[in-house]
């Protein structure tokens, strides 16, 4: 049940911050209400069901990745040693990698080791893959976290405002801008930002990475442009989704009732309408977060950040198949955890969905 503890931490910023502006007292009660639901049987059942449902997905995904890696033309050994490698050298490497054993044995060995947290050794650096993942993941997570922060601060309010003024000139301008934002590839956006803020204006470092533990300020300076290049693109999506969800809930009858009861517009929008739109927004955020982790593959390459995406691209370049296999499974686990958290958060803010 550690999940529930995690969620309490998650629920705070996720739900509190958009509504934090007006009427904090009411939000406090909302938070208490949600906190009270944490231990409800419905939510617990949902969590258990989701975890159980995730198991076959993990198993299937691991089998898929396992077989995929063994589909390398000529086998991983030839992939690593090259087509001109001698037969004994290939046999030796195959033996070293355990590739001369039956597939089922190999898979069982890999799976049991993976469950114990051992994803094998990198072919290139001989380091444990788990260790390399543990080192590179925080960089990607920080990048995605900062990009998300940007979207929460900028895109969600913009989407709400667009929905409030649906059909107005402002709404149309925002829709055009966000439509353009969808079309600009994030790697091109990254390059533009580097050209403007790094090269032309010398405001921010254009490339590289400084660990947070070493120098927090420098770390953040290096992270601003990468996070912005992911955050801006994601904002285009979020503005549109928030606008659509809010426009829906603003046109509902209970919002009309709330207005008729004489509540202030701010309270109606931020406290009542936003709360109904929240499940939709949370689901969009789930997809956005997963998409962002995918986008780190390119963004980390552009900015030369030592994150998990960059590590994966490098590993593919040098044919480090055990690392590719391990990191890909780490990504699968990550996606499933994100989906689980989103489902639980949605259930938390909308118990009706949890009962289904």
């Amino acid at each position: 049940m550690t999940l529930h503890a995690d969620m309490a931490a998650e629920a705070g910023p996720g739900s509190g911050s958009p509504a934090a502006g007006p009427g904090t007292a009411a939000d406090q009660t909302a938070l208490h209400l949600w906190a009270g639901r944490l231990g409800t049987p419905a939510l617990r059942r949902l969590a258990v069901r989701r975890v159980v449902l995730a198991i076959p997905t993990v198993v299937l995904a691991s089998i898929g990745i396992f077989l995929l890696i063994r589909m390398v033309p000529g086998g991983p050994a030839i992939g690593i040693l090259g087509v001109h490698a001698s037969a004994p050298a290939i046999a030796a490497l195959n033996h070293e990698l355990g590739l001369d054993q039956p597939l089922v044995t190999q898979y069982w060995h890999w799976l049991t080791e993976a469950l114990r947290g051992n994803l094998g050794q990198s072919l290139q650096t001989q380091e444990p893959v788990t260790h390399m993942v543990a080192q590179s993941f925080p960089v990607s997570a920080e990048l995605v976290g900062l990009a998300l922060l940007f979207t929460v601060i900028v895109a969600v309010p913009v989407g709400v405002v667009a929905a409030q003024h649906a059909g107005s000139r402002l709404d149309r301008v925002l829709s055009t801008v966000s439509g353009g934002g969808l079309a600009i590839p994030d790697f091109f956006l990254a390059i533009i930002l580097i050209a403007i803020f790094g090269i032309a204006a010398h405001l921010l470092p254009e490339l590289g990475f400084v660990p947070f533990t070493q120098d927090p300020a420098a770390n953040l300076q290096h992270m601003i442009l990468p996070a912005l290049s992911m955050g801006l693109g994601a904002s285009a999506i979020i503005v549109r989704q928030v606008r659509a969800a809010m426009a829906d809930s603003l046109s509902s009858s209970y919002v009309r009732t709330a207005r008729a009861m004489g509540l202030t517009e701010r309270a109606v929008v931020w406290r009542y309408a936003l709360r109904t739109a929240l499940p939709t927004i949370l689901n969009v955020y789930g997809l956005v977060i997963i998409g962002m982790f995918g986008a780190t593959l390119i963004i980390e390459e552009v900015f030369v950040l030592p994150g998990m995406g960059n590590a994966l691209i490098n590993a593919i370049g040098v044919r480090d198949y055990t690392f590719v296999q391990g990191v890909t499974m780490a990504y699968v686990a990550l996606v499933l955890v994100i989906n689980l958290l989103v489902d639980l958060l949605v259930a938390l803010v909308s118990p009706r969905l949890a009962e289904q």
Partner: protein, 309 residues
């Protein structure tokens, strides 16, 4: 079709009003909006340019001229020359071939895999469907780009492998859409009537069941087309797509980015080109979506689909 429930609301402001005013005449068709026309012209023009590249491109896209590198735009070289003295315009025209071909490959793979996948899952929802959808869930448990990159890495990086793997990544989404559409019609009266009147399974499938989800699938495909242009650029940018020195928009952007300190202007042409193409594809997709009148549930899809990058 379930779309009919929503069609009246959507169609009313445009076609119903003039039709009632002139009951005898066919409703006057409104001229398509300028943005849509421009988009179609841009996309068609670029496709034509790519097809006619051997005739249209003023220079050989691979010919280097090391005494004339990084030249600014001029009459001889309309978009200037790159770091190796190659004509940028010619490279972009030739690069259009791999962009369009790549998108075509990924869409073809996505549809050829995804539609039968979803139709089978919807038509036999019990066991086959459960297994097929679990498979889709599994594929969707990877960040799209991660899966595409890993498959490409295993098969060897080039345009065909990379865009085929992108198609594989798109397929489960198409399958889900197709399944929903089939599930909704398969027990409807017209399908039962066809079955009672002795139609063969094949006829029922092809004439009555498969067409049901095609609207949403086509709309989704246009969104994927835009996305595929971005991903093709991204994979070539990473060196996993078209291999240099062959011209490609993403690959040329990567080269321009390498030399951004000495000639920052070089990144503009390929980057803007990708953005413009994607914008046009999305514009066409929007128009299609409005015509096909997507049901409410999937109405918000276009934006969520964009998340896959």
């Amino acid at each position: 079709m379930r779309a009919t429930e929503h069609e009246p609301q959507l169609a009313e402001p445009e076609s119903a009003a003039p039709a009632s005013r002139h009951p005898g005449r066919r409703p006057v068709r409104r001229r398509p909006p300028a943005g849509l026309v421009v988009s179609i012209v841009v996309l068609g023009g670029l496709l034509l340019a790519a097809l006619l590249a051997p005739v249209l491109a003023p220079y050989n896209p691979l010919a280097q001229n090391l005494s004339h590198t990084k030249a600014p735009p001029s009459l001889a070289h309309l978009l200037g020359t790159d770091y190796y003295g190659r004509d940028v315009l010619s490279r972009l025209i030739w690069g259009g071939r791999s962009a369009y071909l790549g998108v075509l490959i990924s869409l073809a793979v996505a549809l050829v895999l995804g539609v039968p996948w979803g139709v089978a899952a919807g038509y036999w929802p019990r066991w086959t469907g459960a297994v097929l959808m679990r498979l889709a869930d599994t594929l969707l448990a990877f960040p799209a780009l991660v899966l595409a990159v890993v498959i490409t890495g295993v098969l060897g990086p080039n345009l065909y492998t990379s865009m085929t793997s992108v198609g594989v990544v798109f397929a489960p989404v198409i399958a889900r859409l197709a399944r929903v559409g089939v599930l909704e019609v398969k027990d409807r009266e017209f399908v039962l009537a066809a079955r009672l009147s002795g139609c063969t399974k094949r006829v029922i499938m092809l004439r009555h069941v498969v067409p049901a989800p095609l609207g949403p699938v086509v709309v989704q495909a246009t969104i994927f087309a835009g996305l595929a242009f971005i991903i093709e650029g991204g994979l070539s940018f990473l060196g996993l797509g078209v291999q240099p020195p062959a011209p490609s928009w993403g690959g040329d952007l990567a080269i321009a980015y390498q030399y951004i300190l000495s000639s920052p202007g070089q990144v503009i042409a390929p980057g803007v080109l990708i953005a413009v193409v994607v914008l046009c594809v999305y514009r066409v997709g929007d128009a299609l979506r409005a015509r096909i009148a997507m049901p409410k549930l999937t109405e918000h899809r276009p934006e969520t689909a964009g998340i896959m990058t």
